[in-house]
């Protein structure tokens, strides 16, 4: 099982002292956070893609390429890549390039974004959101698997005799997760291809996500990729950790109360009860995270959101120390002890190369 962090890359004023990082400071902070993730033994660093302030990450491969050069083990992912408004040809090329530079430590999470105007800004119509996600990914899937592609569709210029370059490393494309908050069509798409399904899981009560994941698992088996237990599931989560629970609550409350995504809304107590957010001791984070397995079954990747709402870099780095040293080692052990027989391993490039060679042999 893989553990990591995912970042939205928001530039947010720290509500406790009114300071706001510059874009440069935030971008460099994201890099520092990624390096720290590797240092404390996490497996994955994932970042969002946005094309509007207050978010800085418009160019994930630039940042992930830089981080790749400064890390050895960390898997670099997106969370998410806009499959709707990016040209699938550029996604195929950019991420194959990154895959070579990172020695295969790359995967992607496809998403449709949460900002309506991005569609018209990139020449698309939001009403085609699902259709774009389906058609663009179908093309991307072929570009990574067929050397020369002839293709015509509804949303981009046709291709005749096109070869995306570079070819995926070792002939094995980056692993793909499909992220969704509400669409069964996307769970179905992930199942059809035998790709991973990532449930953001941060905002909605778990019942909603367990339905989507159940659908994905059933259809994964229907399409012949394995048993429902062998489907590849990732989950989001969110925590603020201090050794002592009361300290965590006291320190995080002003950030929670003003957080861009849920601030000025429910109380911290209600929100932690109704969503995966934990604000408390390492043991409380461990206990809550272990309940995810009860709701969703054995899963392969757990990502935590740790660096939003204006939290200072120093605090985030302390959070990562606690996460890496006190939470994740216990979770690794506990999840492994509970795991059912035959559950899929978390996807890595090396494992995928090995299973491809086994198929060919």
């Amino acid at each position: 099982m893989q553990f990591g962090i995912f970042t939205v890359g928001d530039v947010t004023t720290d509500p406790t002292d009114g300071t706001t990082p510059t874009e440069a400071e935030r971008i460099k902070a994201m890099v520092t956070i990624a390096l720290k993730a590797e240092e404390v033994g996490l497996d994955v660093f994932a970042m969002g893609e946005h094309h509007n302030p207050p978010f800085v990450p418009s160019s994930p491969t630039t940042m992930l390429g830089y981080i790749a050069a400064r890390t050895d083990k960390l898997i670099l992912s997106t969370s998410t890549t806009l499959i709707t408004t990016n040209d699938p040809v550029k996604i195929a090329e950019d991420y194959a390039m990154l895959q070579h530079l990172a020695d295969g430590r790359v995967d992607l999470m496809m998403g449709r974004g949460n900002t309506g105007p991005v569609y018209p800004w990139f020449g698309q119509d939001i009403r085609n959101g699902i259709a774009l996600a389906i058609e663009n990914y179908a093309l991307l899937h072929r570009l990574w698997r067929e050397d020369v592609v002839d293709w015509e569709g509804n949303f981009r210029t046709p291709l005749q005799g096109f070869a995306a370059t570079p070819r995926p490393l070792d002939g094995v494309p980056p692993f793909v997760w499909h992220g969704s908050i509400r669409s069964p069509e996307i769970a179905e798409q992930a199942a059809y291809y035998g790709d991973g399904f990532f449930a953001n899981n941060i905002f909605w009560p778990k019942e909603h996500f367990s339905r989507l994941i159940e659908l994905y698992r059933t259809r994964f088996a229907y399409y012949g990729h394995g048993t429902p237990d062998q489907a590849i599931v990732g989950l989001g989560g969110q925590a603020f950790i201090r050794k002592n629970s009361q300290d965590a609550v006291r320190e995080f409350r002003p950030y929670f109360d003003k957080a861009p995504v849920y601030g000025n809304g429910p109380s911290l107590e209600d929100f932690t009860e109704q969503t995966p957010l934990t604000v408390g001791s390492p043991q409380e984070v461990i206990d809550k995270t272990l309940t995810f397995r009860d709701s969703f079954g054995d899963y392969q990747r757990q990502l935590f959101l740790m660096d939003h709402a204006g939290l200072p870099l120093k605090t985030v780095l302390e959070q990562l120390d606690l996460l890496g040293e006190e939470v994740v080692p216990v979770l690794r052990k506990e999840f492994a002890a509970r795991r059912k027989e035959g559950v899929a391993e978390a996807p890595t490039h090396a494992a995928r190369v090995a299973s491809q060679s086994a198929l060919v042999a």
């Binding site: 699902i130 259709a131 389906i134 058609e135 179908a138 002839d150 293709w151 015509e152 569709g153 509804n154 046709p158 069964p184 069509e185 179905e188 798409q189 199942a191 059809y192 905002f203 909605w204 009560p205 909603h208 339905r211 989507l212 659908l215 259809r219 399409y223 995504v261 849920y262 601030g263 000025n264 809304g265 429910p266 209600d270 929100f271 109704q274 969503t275």
Partner: protein
């Protein structure tokens, strides 16, 4: 069993909006013997509704209310008229309801106000809102001004309540019971194929 959800957006306690809702529910019950009538007071959900607007998901009590309305065979929706239209709380509840939840559902609309001058708010605000939600709005909308509560029977409020309830009951019994739908799967091949007719290749 036939389920009728009654949504009342009155704010005072006791409220004339709830009073009207109860009259409509009672009359509907007379026309639809054995119907299970479930009343939802939005006042108690006001904070949940605001939180749902902020976070994008309903807290448990609101979720239960939204499910009740979504699964009901008929709905009675009653609001006070504020500033020439439905109250913000009433609108916000229907804003956080899934916009397909009332598709094909018979809905009786009703409102209360200080004077009869605002009665057409039912026709220019509530009826189009429920049309947008593709609900089947009953022809008679019931407006109760303060003076109606002291009027003699005859062609007064009581007969309008009874007429509207009869229309709702007739629609509910004519429309087949709502399927309690599980998540619909559109097989992926079908999703792909839906994109193909536009292509030449």
């Amino acid at each position: 069993m036939t389920v009728i959800a009654v949504v009342s957006a009155g704010l005072s306690q006791p409220s004339s909006t709830r009073l009207l809702a109860d009259r409509l529910a009672e009359a509907t019950g007379r026309h639809l013997e054995g119907a299970d009538i479930r009343v939802i007071e939005l006042r108690g959900l006001a904070v949940d509704i605001a939180n749902n607007l902020v976070t994008g998901f309903p807290p448990p009590a609101l979720k239960q209310a939204l499910d009740t309305v979504s699964e009901a065979d008929g709905v009675i929706a009653v609001t006070p008229i504020f500033t020439a239209s439905y109250s913000g709380l009433f609108k916000s509840f229907f804003d956080v309801l899934d916009n397909t939840a009332l598709q094909g559902t018979p809905v009786l609309i009703a409102a209360t106000g200080g004077t009869a001058r605002h009665s057409l708010a039912l026709e220019h605000a509530l009826r189009p809102m429920f049309s947008y939600l593709r609900a089947v709005v009953v022809p008679t909308a019931v407006y109760a001004a303060s003076e109606d509560w002291g009027a003699t029977s005859g062609d007064g409020l009581a007969s309008r309540v009874d007429r509207a309830a009869g229309e709702l009951a007739a629609l509910v019994s004519r429309i087949p019971a709502k399927p309690r739908a599980a998540t619909q799967i559109i097989p992926f091949e079908q999703q792909l194929a839906a994109l193909r007719p536009f292509t030449t290749g």
